[in-house]
Symmetry: D2
Subunit: 304 residues, 4 copies
């Protein structure tokens, strides 16, 4: 239940929990490897993840054509079979294109939109606001704002987030800034109008303690069982137990930050038997040392 | 004449002189305003520019769909009527897509490719090399490498430029780094295998003195006559006279750097009577103060 | 108790808890306002802070002469009367000077050194290691490494921290990076050879949950009672209660990050009746809006 | 001759030409190696440099104590014997300290002050203005503003430079930004109230063509004869000949940018027989590859 501008909006199910960022398996001819992606979705759901997020950073949205993006969303929705919400990434430099993407994904059956602003030139605060507002108004499903200052040229300032929090279906934020204090400042500022998901740059257990509702992250794709376990312990308020598990799982995030995100998760999935391939060129595949490090991390945490 | 790996390649006409970066006039329904673009090209050629460059930064390549990009290139080629070379911007995050763009533009009749690497994640030196090499090998027309560290996430290092300079049709570099010393370092390094064009962040007269062959820049689109005059004075080696003219023209570059590039040049062209409109949303149009400043600059240099 | 290279070192009292960063009150003739500083120390100790930290960032070490620095340390040691440990900031660009400072402070009676590397040119990893090692070996008291990437030109990498953690009296780290995940990575890496203090850029309650031992921060200087209360709740493991208090106290950190740190804390102390004055010129004093914001924050949390 | 606020100020000799940035030779006990420094000054003057600049970046001002700084200035003034002007670096974080330094250097007999703002926290535009104004008003000798955005935390904006240009004895700027276009913008802005010296990050011959009056730079310390020759050719307006020489000399600047500035110039001087030693610890001495590269460069340009 979320309160917006005095209007009570009842939403059957709020997004919460572990939403793995899905990789995008593409074969050498540019086709989506549907069977691999379906199997991955099926396995993730079977161990209890709470949602699926295609076309995030880890999903290489910035490297995929529009037909590839649509195909991936179709496959994920089909695989989910309504068991968990599917929140797909919409990313563009222009409002027109972003609105088209969002409408298409809603029509395909997505349960939410992860909204991303790409930019080449700097964009004014009003321009940033207009972009996300236009996406929100183009659809009736919930919007998750996504900001990643490491890779996107335009960041979401706290004043813009505050303004956006008053739009009724802008209901979540996933902030990948690595600055956890910023999350607390945002929570203090949006006063319940928006919920927060952690990114892999934050410590999920800390964000849960702050009042977060879960995390959307690449590493959850290769450690889904452990992630769900951590989430449950957090929900029970067993914070010291949570931190103990968190501390051991953190080695995955430590590796993640050292390598190309997509290469890292694709490499880990390959080790787990999913033939997802490498990231699209000219991105590099995971290096041999990277494979070793990920392998060691997965073995340590019991995910291989 | 350019010497590559001991092989003598004779090219009928080398690129040189003033290549205005063309804006991309788009109407509210997303259509390219062909008549406006054609008229602009005609007028630029009539005052003596030496080439036309659609789909550079000023041309908002990062904000245009693939059909819009193709249409713009078609219109410019048609307008040029073979009188001056057309060098169109190819920009992508993936090798596959960049190769498709380059081949299409060659088939449309372009005389050269301005090659741009977009990226989301950091790309390794080998990845950067592979990207530009693939574009060069996909076509038989000359390639101009373009690097703009202000807006593109990936810069071209001098060692990568040196490696690329050995590929026979990679023959030019346009560097928008604002570091003029870097240009001299590059010239020292490529030893005649590659020629250099200045960007608006460099002082054209200085780059000409260094041994540059011209400039590719947005401001040349609104001050083409003055730019051509400056080029001619430089070619005559009248450096102090050149610097005198350069100094007065520089106010345009000073304004240019303060505003969104596309907004600035589109604003200047509107003042000159071309209904090119504003940059695509969520970019902001030129502000009222920006219009005043550009107007004053154009009047001062005799371009309005 | 801390384990180093298999040797068991028993230290009577480990540093832990709330260490306010003290401001440096200087009058217009350049003299340290000793009475004001003594009164502040007395009041902080009386509400239960666990240590005192002169010459941190908030203490304007970078703006003080060597005689002023010595005087401040003398005054604080005298005021502390051995009731709480005094950990003074040593900061220099050269090893020679840093060693002199550290030895002097030990002789004056300091209980620990907060070691800071200033730099003008980039320093190699080996140079960074050599600097901190030299300070540690020059004294027999414990060393707290301090890194603040916002203001210091040289950051401490995790590999260098790991190397330094093997030196027996390098026992603490205060990291002001704002990246809380980095703290967990460091904790995973130093394996008990080093303890961690939060900075004002981190959420103290989160760092305590991670296994931190307290915080060294400017805001604790103007909210000492509330800080001590938060620390006690964290120590009891009442994490949700802690987070509730933390959330209300956070507004102070939100203000702190917006203004010059020294101006902010000096302004807050002036509001509380300590005539500490303004930061040294050309730093600006706290602006009128800053005063209003700090006043509001202090009233809200019950510190005014 | 320089015109300030309508008042004609005639200065016997304006600063112009090649001002080498002197290194600071310090022995292991911390003493200035006076004989080495004197010999270097003597030799530089004998090949025709137009001024001497102790305590610039290359002179490691940021690594020297106040007594060391004074000693170096004394030695240089004594060595110069009034044959060329001595312009010494004043650098501090506080106005009080900077004023003391400037007055002391004037009393020691300096002909000008190279004014540098060090900072830890960001400084407002008004604070930056106040700092430089206070130095200028404390002495009657000319001031050279020095800004180096690579190493100093605070840059000089063009509006602040414009304001400062109205103070009568602020007569020169040395800008080490690497952005040569910025120099032309500044020249357009200060309208003759201030002259410009190039730094090693700019191409001296280009800056001369722009209207600069010379350069203050570390490389001139190891290639003084060649630098003076280049200056003379520029003064004669033989720009293409100048650029030819410039192009060959540039390899020194290319090396300079790759290594610690002080290490690089100290290394080069050691190769030339001056026992200036290494930079102060924890700075690294020039690496063996660095020595090889500098040696090769010096041989190529005829300076070894």
């Amino acid at each position: 239940m979320s309160i917006k501008k005095g209007i009570l909006i009842v939403i059957k199910e709020n997004f919460h929990g572990v939403f793995p960022y899905l990789v995008s398996p593409i074969d050498t001819s540019g086709e989506v490897k549907c069977d691999v992606l379906e199997q991955l979705c099926e396995d993730l759901i079977s161990v209890g993840v709470h949602g699926l997020t295609p076309l995030g950073s880890t999903g290489e949205f910035a490297y995929l054509s529009w037909p590839q993006r649509q195909r991936i969303v179709e496959v994920v929705i089909k695989a989910a079979k309504g068991r968990v919400p599917v929140v797909a990434g919409v990313a563009s430099t222009t409002i027109t294109d972003a609105v088209t993407q969002a409408r298409t994904f809603e029509q395909l059956g997505c349960d939410g939109i992860l909204a991303i602003l790409e930019s080449y030139f700097p964009i004014s605060e009003d321009g940033v606001y207009a972009y996300f507002k236009a996406i929100a108004e183009a659809v009736s499903i919930p919007i998750v704002l996504y900001t990643n200052p490491s890779f996107q040229r335009s960041d979401l300032s706290i004043p813009v987030i505050e303004r956006l929090s008053h739009i009724s279906n802008i209901r979540y934020l996933k902030d990948a800034s690595s600055n956890t204090g910023r999350l607390l400042s945002i929570l203090n500022c949006v006063q319940g109008r928006m919920e927060i998901f952690a990114a892999s740059a934050h410590i999920p257990a800390c964000v849960m303690l702050l009042g977060g509702v879960g995390w959307m992250a690449g590493p959850a794709c290769i450690a889904p069982k452990q992630s769900v376990e951590l989430y449950e312990i957090c929900r029970q308020g067993a914070w010291e137990e949570a931190m103990k598990l968190q501390r051991s799982l953190w080695i995955l995030n430590q590796s993640f930050v050292k390598y190309n995100l997509a290469a890292c998760i694709k490499g880990g999935l390959e080790l787990q038997g999913y033939s997802v391939g490498s990231p699209l060129l000219p991105q590099s595949p995971l290096s041999p040392e990277g494979f070793l490090e990920i392998k060691r991390a997965l073995v340590t945490i019991g995910a291989l």
